[in-house]
Subunit: 224 residues, 2 copies
């Protein structure tokens, strides 16, 4: 139950600043007040303000120049992709994952190198280890799926998969914490059979198995 969890002040400050930027308080290219002015205004220390600014700088919203100040470089430019994902229902994201991963599995069966096959097998072994930590389990699962996508030798598919990862990860962790029940032995068996299909060069089977698994995940995530 992390409902009451305290959000770090730096994150809160970054969120407040972003809201004020979106509200048009400072237009594109405008200079923000100095850190020493902003700190008491937000009720936090200067270091905290700096970390908030860094956070927004990482997203391309702000840019700071020593001696000059901090300037608005975009009214949330990464809005495009990030916002689409954030706004999207988790079911929508999973459907997109189905599109990417099913095709990737088929391609991987045709193109995987021995090294990639070893990487997938290693990821499967790690995935099989029992873990108390939910996040670690989700991450281990992600490593396996990513290894399959990488073996497809298509940088666009890999890029797309990486784009989905954060959103997908958050939802899966939330759902597992709430009611668990996904990722048992049967689940692990499907992954093992995907590996076998890829090893055998059976693209059709790899695609079908991936689809089956992801459809099950979709149902599980969208259950009431």
């Amino acid at each position: 139950m992390d409902q009451v969890r305290r959000e770090p002040l730096a994150d809160q400050a970054a969120r407040l600043l972003l809201e004020r930027i979106r509200a048009g308080e400072w237009s594109l290219g405008a200079k923000l007040p100095g850190e020493t002015t902003l700190a008491p205004q937000l009720g936090v220390g200067r270091s905290t303000v700096r970390e908030a600014i860094r956070q927004l700088a990482g997203r391309g919203v702000l840019a700071s120049r020593q001696g000059a100040g901090v300037f608005v470089t975009a009214l949330d430019a990464p809005e495009d992709w990030d916002a689409v994902l954030r706004r999207a229902d988790i079911v929508t994201v999973v459907e997109a994952r189905i599109a990417i991963e099913v095709e990737a599995a088929a391609l991987a069966a045709e193109r995987r190198t021995p090294a990639e096959l070893r990487a997938i097998r290693r990821a499967l072994d790690l995935r099989g280890e029992r873990r108390a930590n939910i996040e670690e389990h989700v991450d281990a699962d992600t490593v396996f799926h990513r290894a399959v996508v990488v073996a497809a030798h298509n940088p666009i598919l890999t890029e797309l998969f990486d784009g989905f990862t954060p959103r997908s990860r958050a939802s899966m962790i939330d759902m597992l914490r709430l009611r668990g029940g996904f990722g048992g032995d049967a689940d692990h068996d499907v992954h093992a059979r995907v590996l076998t299909a890829i090893a055998d060069g059976d693209g059709r089977a790899a695609a079908d198995l991936s689809r089956t698994h992801l459809l099950a995940m979709k149902r599980w995530l969208s259950a009431p």
Copy 2:
């Protein structure tokens, strides 16, 4: 020319960390060394390391949890789309289109509204008209494909399709100008059958037909 411009240490540190993450020094979900360990390792102060971490956190690469540590949440920041597509081979783009459109066709067969069905049919009619202008023909084809994707009711798939359009369009126009030969009556017939399958709610057929068509396009585009 910013040749002489000195890069802040925090930015350098962030770049170094990102390189080490990309190099696989810490895999997805892994925990980074503590700030107090990282600082002397990078040759900077603790607060500088913190700012570097915040910067990468803003890009979604890292996430820090008080008391626990700093963890890798993504292997790659969402790179600029245009750059990825520009670099990618046209065959790679078509493979991604296959992934998106095949899945979209299946979903469209299940979810399309009567209005969307009319839109697809109208696009098909426009596509069938003979044109002297190559670009207009490619655009008419694109309108049809996009109408199908829109009918899937998945904003992410739509967004992806729109992202591919410019790159795909350029290649198709170039190839048609060079040797033509794609987009004849047989081609038009496949599109008509996709429409029929979607109208009948036959997702499997819609997916198979789309795959067949796009695979033909892939072969055509990759032929010597």
